[in-house]
Symmetry: C2
Subunit: 229 residues, 2 copies
């Protein structure tokens, strides 16, 4: 279960995989805290889930900063961005706007040059023109459901993997449909007590998921799940 | 979060504490698998939860065998037995007999000399005379509820700690009542998918529990929780 030498966590095969990486979970199974709001998109105490990531060099460089730690957590976070050809994210991960888009002014949380550098498919009920940003990121708004989003993202990924950014509702929907091939959970030693539970009502064993590997990081325990066909 | 040098995991203060130790949990939060039965008291795939323990020197010596591994999992398992003055266990942990005791023939799963060596209080609805075994173990059958069991066990422990052996229903009842002071969970990298969930419906944060320490073992990730008064 320990890290030995260099890690090659993700299989990087020739087939595109639908993957979840660096997805944080509390010890009691919550992917977000209670009382999610525009001010607290991860809910009360939700940011504690991300504490393992905030300290990494990967996180700091995504936000244009130097420094950060270069340990196990960082290496796993960095590998989670490699060989990703497209992303799928839920509407709430793109921004706080609810309902129809009032105008085109909201362009995501990330400024002019988002850290994706590939196409990002945003699940929404409200159509909007694609949004091409600096550095290779383009947001496409998908209104005809998650299967369509997967199909579009797979085509755009051009043989690389498609990463699901979240949130929990999006991940749960794809787990129930057994669409996700690999899942990396960063289990944090915190108890949220309530909020958005990742696995409740989802029988991961029956869906074919198994945990293949556990790696102890500095601030999280990394669990690697894979679905057996 | 790593093991460094020798461990002193449990505080060993002057006050008796009510503690849970070496309690195994699946990655998706189950303390027992589905379809518990007399033949499978831990339910389908439930024994996978205990795999970390079966390999330890502590487990083997409890069953009169030599050998076993002497790593991190073993050290934590061994420390879990130290300074315990009494135990509380649910009826189903004592044996498969349901309903009234038909006779006095069932004396636990453990033979003539059970591995407790101190008084063990068994929660049951059916009265029975105490059962004194070899090696210091005596089983007392408590029919007037869990608070009474705690009171009796604390008195019997004589300043040492009282360990809750399980099962999950007993632990859940004591968690809800915020009676448990310390809890050591051995989180296993397995997905049971269904079964008996430990935390469902229990707000561990609101009850005052926090995770103080995480230690990576060979076959489990050990999480140490404590309740803040």
């Amino acid at each position: 279960m320990r890290v030995e030498g260099s890690m090659d966590l993700f299989d990087g095969g020739v087939m595109s995989q639908l993957v979840v990486r660096s997805f944080a979970l509390s010890l009691d199974g919550y992917a977000a805290g209670p009382d999610q709001s525009l001010e607290s998109p991860l809910g009360t105490r939700g940011p504690e889930l991300m504490e393992w990531f905030f300290h990494t060099r990967a996180w700091r460089s995504m936000h244009g900063n130097d420094g950060g730690e270069a340990g196990v957590d960082n290496e796993i976070a960095e590998q989670g961005f490699s060989e990703i050809g497209a992303w799928i994210i839920g509407r709430n991960m793109f921004g706080p706007v609810r309902g129809p888009w009032l105008d085109e002014s909201w362009k995501g949380w990330w400024g002019d040059e988002p850290p994706y550098h590939v196409p990002v498919f945003v699940l929404t009920h409200h159509a909007r023109e694609p949004l091409v940003m600096k550095g290779g990121t383009a947001f496409y708004f998908v209104t005809d459901g998650i299967d369509s989003a997967v199909e579009k993202a797979m085509a755009a990924a051009n043989g690389k993997d498609v990463r699901i950014g979240g949130g929990a509702a999006t991940v749960r929907q794809l787990l129930r449909a057994a669409r996700i091939d690999e899942m990396h959970l960063a289990v944090r030693p915190v108890l949220l007590g309530s909020g958005e539970h990742l696995f409740q009502g989802i029988d991961m064993h029956a869906l074919g998921y198994r945990c293949d590997q556990v790696i102890a990081g500095e601030r999280a325990t990394h669990m690697f799940l894979r679905r057996r066909a």
